[in-house]
Symmetry: C2
Subunit: 192 residues, 2 copies
DNA sequence: AGGATACCTGACCGATCGGTCAGAAACTGC
DNA sequence: GCAGTTTCTGACCGATCGGTCAGGTATCCT
């Protein structure tokens, strides 16, 4: 009763942790197996290939983000909608730190992998729905800095400071800073 | 006269490019050698080990950043000094895209390597000289978002958009956004 | 009890990894 | 022309990579 998680789930968790911290190519299947307490063969029993494992590890975050984007597109461009979106987005970042870290940091080098391509497409849609074709360069940079910066803070806070900030402080601070960054951008949500 | 660069420099350039785009562990010495038009043995003739190659590729950026920080510390905390610092820093980011990309994206996973550790220490000093112990959580997040976001934009702009922004537009936009982000932070440069 | 099924593992495979080494080729100073 | 040095390379090494396969064990269904 104590350990409710199946071997598959344990492996998924360990894999995501390792992929995010030492990189996809820097993580070997035997590392994952060892940490999770199984053999490499067991990893390859549950997941046909290393790439399948990555796919399975990242999919939940992608689906969540898709939902958030759909909600935003359905609601329209009212200011309150923007506020709710930022809050939802920051919560998404906080609850999917590792996946987001992977997208941001390794999305470029893993473009061949389908799940990564889907994630990148999502981010492009996000960017376009927030700062469309008409947006100025400053608006684009503003959006990029907000997204990349927020994602970066999720992990950097632990890397740098002797005493990492508590989660709720990070959340409210992120909401404030991201809201402030996105405020000047003319919002025009589009259908996905 | 056409090709002034020695084999060593060519290898350094290719290595930095590959390390930044597909990751340190995702890059093999033979890849670097092939792209540069040499053999793997030649790489290991000029650089004792893969790690040495990384060290040599990143060192110039580290030294430049050290100089910028020293200048800032020497000048003091006047508003004009802050402005100049941001401009210098953004120029540094733009002129060292690949190195910065490596620090930000892989600094965590390469902590065992001396040159990376030096770079991380530099960033911590930068953070402390900008937003000291007294800074609020919002200030810390503001700084982190500015740094990570700016660094992220350097590469993301090419990954996302169909038509990447021209460099000078990115520069001025980055200066504007970073200045705006750091503005509320009480500056107190310290000796390095 | 007994067969089907799910789960897990060790042995093994070819490929590639970072790295060593002996020596060829090219350039130096004399 | 010739020794000495620098630059470069192919052959080779042990280790590890992702992945296959045959088989062991446990569980479930009847």
């Amino acid at each position: 009763m104590a350990s409710r998680s199946s071997a598959r789930d344990e492996l998924l968790g360990v894999a995501l942790e390792q992929f995010a911290s030492v990189g996809y190519s820097g993580t070997s299947l035997s590392q994952i197996a060892d940490i999770a307490g199984y053999s490499k063969s067991t990893v390859l029993y549950h997941f046909a290939a290393k790439e399948t494992l990555l796919e399975a590890a990242l999919s939940p975050a992608i689906e969540t983000l898709t939902g958030i984007l759909n909600d935003f597109a359905r609601r329209g461009a009212t200011p309150s909608s923007q506020g709710e979106f930022v809050a939802q987005f920051v919560d998404f970042l906080l609850e999917n730190r590792l996946s987001v870290h992977m997208f941001i940091n390794q999305g470029q080098s893993l473009q061949g992998i389908p799940v990564i391509h889907r994630a990148n497409s999502l981010i492009v849609e996000l960017a376009e729905s927030l700062s469309g074709d008409m947006a100025t360069a400053v608006d684009k940079v503003r959006f990029g800095v907000a997204l990349g910066g927020a994602a970066y803070m999720l992990v950097a806070s632990e890397t740098w400071s002797r005493d990492p900030l508590p989660v709720d402080e990070i959340r409210s601070a992120l909401v404030a800073v991201v809201t402030e960054l996105l405020a000047p951008i003319h919002l025009r949500p589009t259908a996905l």
